[in-house]
């Protein structure tokens, strides 16, 4: 039971932070189509600062989620998970000498972590994941040397994939009488 507390807490935190989803598709009135690889607004990940890191307390950022290239339009792994390209963009960050930002994805249970890489001078990095639910974490790391398997520095910002909003209905709403424990919660 306790292993669910952290992800649920993170989920609630992110939910309360809100999502930026009010963009509309191009109207088509421009003379030339803008070719900007941005993911669907709906699935964009807002990165919320932890306010813990000097120079990054007002950090802003987001992760754009697009499908990895696939001849089928939508990219799907052999196990059926989505295969996403994630483009991270941060701003309002002043890095101390010898420091850099690194992006990571991790499962909601935090039991598996993968590096997306260091953000470049433009505060961007691009990576890929084939997890359906994941956290996107930005940490402060040394600016040289190989990145470790998991982050070593403090967390600057974090956000969760839109799918993180999907949670059990047991014990809630019309199913409030359903016993959570029966369904593993």
């Amino acid at each position: 039971m306790s292993r669910f507390i952290l992800p649920v807490a993170v989920l609630i935190l992110i939910s309360s932070a809100g999502w930026t989803t009010d963009h509309s598709p191009d109207s088509g009135s421009d003379p030339v189509c803008e070719v900007i690889p941005i993911g669907p607004d709906y699935y964009q990940i807002d990165l919320v600062t932890t306010r813990k890191v000097s120079g990054a307390r007002l950090a802003k950022g987001f992760g754009d989620v697009t499908y990895a290239h696939s001849p089928f339009g939508v990219a799907i792994s052999p196990t059926g998970t989505y295969v996403y390209d994630i483009s991270v963009q941060m701003s309002n960050v002043t890095l101390a000498e010898g420091k850099s930002l690194a992006a990571w994805v991790t499962t909601p249970q935090l039991d598996s972590i993968k590096s997306l890489g260091r953000l470049d001078e433009d505060m961007r990095v691009r990576g890929q994941t084939d997890w359906n639910k994941f956290l996107l974490v930005i940490t402060l790391e040394p600016d040289s040397g190989p990145l470790p398997e998991t982050w070593s520095g403090p967390i600057v910002s974090r956000g969760m994939s839109r799918s993180g909003l999907m949670h059990t209905m047991a014990g809630h709403g019309p199913f409030e009488t359903e016993p959570c424990a029966v369904f593993g919660y």
Binding site: T21, P25, D26, S27, G28, S29, D30, P31, V32, C33, E34, V35, I36, P37, I38, G39, P40, D41, Y42, Y43, T66, Y67, H69, S70, P71, F72, G73, V74, I76, S77, P78, T79, G80, T81, Y82, D85, N132, K133, R162, S163, G164, L165, M166, H167, T168, M169, A170, G173, P174, F175, E178, V182, F183, G184
Partner: protein, 563 residues
């Protein structure tokens, strides 16, 4: 024949309390009457989901009546359908083909179903590119029908759209179709009237158009057509369809029994080291498949209407309704390779993704090695310079501003209140794709009379058949399609255009680096897909979502192409 009897069986509230079985599975079978004498009545569709039902829905049945062709008739009246045969047709040949009720056996149980030419799938028409053939079609089912020749750039009069290109073919009547095949590849034919019923019951078949050039494709040891389908069956037989309108209008009618080439136990025997060319067609009403060949290497050659610019290795093949793909699969080792549909279903009640693997068939690889090994050719992903050169003429248009935009949405009315509320609660997260019927009861209850799927042109405010696009032959038209994630019930839509071909140039603003000509492509929820239409064929044509229930819930438009 079509008994249309509508019965409500109101159960006492004491029977309404769902009880957990094995901690997870819920048994709802007691909630509905199964039969009422000789009359056809609604019974709840099979649910294999580990979720309780909304109490308010337990007594509900669709507002439309139940209908099942052949219901109550003696099975022995009908000829037993036989497996598909290949009909080689030369230029100028004529094929006489009917649609009729037949007896089919699926997983050991007999059903009254439908067939073209008495076969499942229907006869595979094979012809050379540029050939023209005649099909004299006769309707021997007791519903009006037409035949649509999906993907063919044929003359408009033979496109098979009732009320647009022809009148419905009534029972006992015939219609003569003239087919022409300007593009190499795999195509298919199906009804364009109540395909939620007729196609689901077996009215589908392929057309394989052979190239005129040697070496058009990389070499393969054998060719195998594979038709992917599912069907909704419970212990009492086929689950009835809606009579005056479709059921399952929200998500489409997912089947619970999977079939390859119309059977549940498909097997193919090959030799070790064989390269097998599979021609894949998804004829299911709504299910998108993620096809895996047991870990065998897969190379994709072609999409709906052409080869790709370059061959590409993939680990699985995503096939939406009505799409076709041509893939080579290399069976390197002896043994058994399971053909599976491998997906991550969603359990909305638990709020989790659930891995599901549906076994569709088996490829058995013998110890004997193939004499003429094509391993080297298979492992080389070829550049298709012919298609690259053909596309060169269109590259100047790839980044042009859209000529039209479409927003995909839905409007509902008169759905049960608990469904409306539940949908609001459940829309915190909408997946890009619906791989399974994640809400089978609510989906079943939604009829085409309550759900309107929408193609919206925001610039004009027009919707569906009120949209009036006028194009000329030679135009290259860009359409931007946005699948609105904030609609009442967003869902992926396979978007099909009749009589023309198109390229998917961008998905969410990302340029497509490897294109093939298409006639159907998936628009996932939240995504924006740019397509470039090669306007080459005059007439009045349709464009629509190819989920059968969405089409019948209004998700279509027509456009006119003049010379």
């Amino acid at each position: 024949m079509h008994v249309r009897f509508f019965a409500l069986l109101i159960l006492g509230s004491s029977t309404l309390l769902a009880t957990a079985q094995d901690g997870m599975q819920m048994d709802h079978s007691q909630h509905m009457n199964m039969e009422m004498g000789d009359s056809l009545v609604w019974r709840m569709p099979p649910m294999d989901m580990s979720m309780p039902m909304l109490p308010d829905l337990m007594d509900d049945v669709p507002i439309v009546g139940p209908m099942l062709p052949g219901f109550g008739m003696d099975l022995s009246m009908f000829a037993e359908a036989r497996p598909s045969e290949i009909i080689d047709m030369a230029d100028g040949d004529t094929l006489h083909m009917d649609a009729s009720l037949v007896r089919r056996t699926i997983a050991g149980q007999e059903y009254v179903m439908m067939a073209y030419g008495g076969m499942y799938p229907g006869p595979l028409i094979r012809a050379d590119r540029d050939a023209k053939v005649i099909v004299v079609f006769t309707n021997n089912i007791e519903m009006p029908t037409t035949v649509h020749w999906h993907g063919l750039r044929l003359d408009n009069a033979f496109d098979g759209v009732p009320g647009v290109t022809q009148d419905p073919v009534l029972t006992g009547e015939s219609f003569t179709y003239e087919l022409k095949f300007p593009d190499t590849g795999m195509y298919w034919y199906h009804p364009h009237m109540r395909e939620d019923v007729q196609q689901d019951l077996g009215l589908y078949g392929n057309m394989l158009v052979d190239p005129l050039e040697d070496g058009f494709y990389s070499p393969a040891n054998r060719e195998v057509p594979l038709v992917l389908d599912d069907i909704l069956i419970d212990a009492n037989g086929l689950v009835p369809f809606g009579d005056s309108a479709t059921t399952h209008a929200l998500m489409g009618r997912f089947g619970n029994v999977m079939m390859l080439n119309g059977v549940t136990d498909y097997n193919l025997d090959v030799e070790k080291g064989e390269v097998v060319r599979f021609y894949l067609t998804n004829v299911a009403n709504t299910r998108t498949f993620n096809l895996v060949f047991g870990g065998a290497k897969i190379k994709i050659l072609a999409g709906d209407v052409s080869k790709y610019e370059r061959e590409q290795f993939v680990e699985s093949v995503v096939v939406a309704p009505a799409e076709r793909y041509i893939v080579d699969v290399y069976f390197e080792e002896s043994g058994t390779y399971e053909i599976t549909n491998s997906i991550q279903a969603i359990n909305h009640f638990r709020g989790i993704f659930v891995p599901e693997t549906h076994n569709l068939g088996t490829v058995t690889v013998s110890e004997n090695s193939i004499e003429s090994s094509l391993t080297d050719a298979f492992l080389n992903a070829r550049e298709n310079q012919d298609i690259q050169q053909e596309l060169d003429a269109y590259r100047q248009y790839f980044d042009k501003a859209p000529d039209h935009t479409l927003r995909l949405s839905v409007r509902v009315n008169n759905l049960p209140l608990s469904i409306m509320r539940m949908m609001e609660i459940d829309t915190l997260y909408v997946p890009p794709m619906e791989w399974n019927d994640a809400m089978p009861m609510m989906n079943w209850l939604s009829s085409g009379e309550q759900v309107s799927w929408l193609l919206v042109e925001d610039e004009t405010g027009r919707e569906g058949m009120d949209i009036d696009w006028q194009w000329k032959v030679g135009d290259v038209v860009k359409i931007r399609i946005f699948n609105d994630p904030k609609s009442f019930h967003p869902m992926n839509h396979p978007f099909h255009i009749h009589g023309q071909r198109y390229l998917v140039t961008h998905m969410d603003g990302v340029p497509n680096p490897n294109m093939a000509w298409k006639d159907t492509a998936i628009v996932p929820v939240g995504s924006t897909m740019d397509i470039l239409v090669d306007v080459s064929n005059p007439g009045v044509w349709m464009a629509h979502c190819h989920i059968a229930e969405h089409l019948h819930a209004g998700m279509m438009l027509s456009f006119t192409v003049t010379e």
